[in-house]
């Protein structure tokens, strides 16, 4: 029998996921920054609850994020996960999908990400040598640019930080660097170019570049082979006349040596990665590009977002990692999971439907399935907002993933796919525990794609649906929220291939 024809649809060939353990950047997160401004003692109480690198690496949700544990293995581990779990098995900072990087090496990448003259990021000459050696010896991240060795003395750094002109970069409480505002004449009066705002952009760029470097490594392709980059993080970069203007995609591609790529940024709050993957797939399907990298860096503003609750309860600050991901979208390669882009196969929340939750979920869940002649029973796993419940529950917001699964199961009942009494068993079958750090766009369904690609390639799953939500109302310009969904399916070429002898 002849094999099925190659799909006109694109595929997601591989994915990468990285974390940066950055305890001494948590103070620059939005919530800690605002609390410290009200009460200077907050910073000391915050510092007392920060955990070390080994604890962050051993933390089971982080191991799940980088691919060393499956969501099913995580769900089987007793909680609390933060107190050191018996039976979690060996853990590593290196993962199947990427890695967890300590902040000293990250500072060297942050320095590499800074292209301004005079420099925004300064590192002390003594500290930078060691950081740079670690970066240059890194098997994957050494590609992130040539070393910049124009460092400054510790005394000069101290003077600059003490005057309040720059933010301190510390390692175990020792000052090793600083981040400045744009103090050139054209930047001096611009609040969008202050040190903390620029640090947000630099963190987004540096972490996205990490994820892209890992993506290229995992895909086994040269940076020059990428012909388009889409950035889908939430950070708004730009100055007073164009805050949010974009440019992160090309900045990240430049840092990784993607010299043949063009690029653009896509904004849609937490749903931007899903929107970006659909857009990338459509561009590939249209024949405009062959290999598109979809990347997103981490959110400095969201570090320590729930820290007040953690300090009150005397448990470690779990929001201490910047997170990043990257995906490679290509034409059908006969092996990788297919991204369904047939007419109406992508779920969207239309402006008109947003007057009813039921209508939104019908748009997101049922219409794409109907377009492909499928029902909710044909999806093996649904991946909605996959926030780590340990972070959300301690802060009083409950298990966000489970709340989303309740809505999905309710729609399955309304659609006649299951009986009401089957809801819990349905959730058990198609759901999973959340494991992603609360970094906005990072947990929004796409955190599961790395695991999904493996399940779809191995035959453990046939179809997976990714669902993302976006709180558009946070822009204060509309009351709407958005939803975006798409279906990944095991490659028909792979599923029809006879087993190897």
């Amino acid at each position: 029998m002849a094999p099925p024809p190659m799909s006109a649809n694109p595929v997601i060939r591989t994915a990468s996921y990285c974390l940066v353990h950055a305890p001494e950047l948590v103070r620059y997160g939005s919530k800690p920054w605002r609390e410290t401004a009200k009460d200077a003692s907050f910073e000391r109480r915050l510092a007392e609850r920060l955990r070390g690198f080994e604890a962050a690496v051993a933390y089971p949700p982080n191991q799940t994020f980088i691919g060393n544990l499956s969501p099913e293995e995580l769900a089987a581990l007793p909680r609390p996960w933060h107190s050191g779990v018996v039976g979690a098995g060996p853990c590593s900072a290196s993962g199947r999908f990427g890695e967890i990087l300590p902040q000293d090496v990250f500072y060297a990448i942050l320095k590499q990400a800074d292209i301004l003259e005079p420099a925004l990021v300064e590192l002390s000459d003594a500290a930078h040598k060691g950081m740079l050696a670690a970066l240059q010896g890194h098997p994957v991240l050494s590609r992130l640019g040539a070393p910049n060795s124009r460092d400054v003395s510790a005394s000069k750094l101290r003077a600059e930080v003490q005057t309040g002109a720059a933010l301190a970069l510390e390692l175990s409480g020792e000052l090793v660097g600083c981040v400045r505002r744009d103090d050139r004449a054209e930047g001096r009066e611009d609040q969008n170019l202050d040190a903390r705002t620029l640090l947000e952009g630099l963190c987004a760029k540096a972490t996205a570049a990490m994820a892209l470097a890992w993506l290229l490594e995992r895909a086994g392709i040269d940076a020059q082979a990428i012909d388009f980059v889409i950035s889908c993080g939430e950070e708004a970069t730009g100055d007073r006349y164009q805050r949010g203007g974009g440019g992160l995609a090309k900045a990240v591609g430049e840092m990784c040596g993607c010299v043949n790529a063009s690029g653009m940024d896509i904004k849609n709050f937490c749903a931007a990665p899903a929107s970006a993957l659909i857009t990338a797939g459509a561009l590939v399907k249209a024949g405009l590009y062959e290999r598109i990298a979809v990347v997103a860096g981490g959110s400095l503003a969201k570090l320590g977002m729930k820290s007040e609750a953690f300090i009150e309860q005397g448990i470690p600050i779990l929001g201490d990692c910047l997170a990043a991901h990257a995906f490679l979208v290509t034409r059908d390669d006969g092996e990788s999971p297919v991204l369904h882009l047939e007419p109406h196969a992508v779920g969207t929340a239309t402006i008109g439907s947003s007057t009813s939750d039921e209508a939104v979920y019908r748009n997101l869940l049922l219409e794409p399935l109907a377009a492909l002649g499928l029902t909710m029973r044909d999806i093996d796993k649904f991946a909605p907002e996959l926030h780590n419940p340990e972070i959300m529950e301690h802060s009083g917001s409950g298990d966000v993933a489970h709340k989303n699964y309740r809505m999905i199961a309710a729609m399955a009942v309304l659609a006649g796919s299951i009986e009401k009494q089957e809801m819990e068993s349905f959730i058990e079958r198609v759901g999973m525990v959340g494991f992603a750090p609360t970094q906005g766009h990072i947990p929004s369904g796409v955190a599961y794609i790395g695991h999904a690609l493996e399940a779809l390639r191995s035959g453990r799953s046939r179809r997976v649906m990714i669902l993302s939500k976006a709180s558009l109302f946070l822009n204060r310009l509309t009351g709407l929220y958005d939803g975006v969904s798409f279906i990944l399916e095991a490659n028909p070429q792979l599923t029809n291939r006879p087993p190897e002898a």
Binding site: S356, D357, M392, T438
Partner: protein, 41 residues
């Protein structure tokens, strides 16, 4: 129970939204004087 009452509605994007609560309480005869939906992530 809610007939003729004034109600302030606080919903959550990842749970029951303000809009869904509004529909329920209005059906029960209440007047919604404030409605918001928050995002906690």
């Amino acid at each position: 129970m809610l007939k003729g009452k004034k109600v302030a509605v606080f919903g959550e994007r990842d749970d029951v939204t303000g809009l869904a609560i509004r529909h329920c309480v209005e059906a029960a005869g209440a007047e919604v004087v404030y409605e918001t939906t928050s995002c906690f992530v």
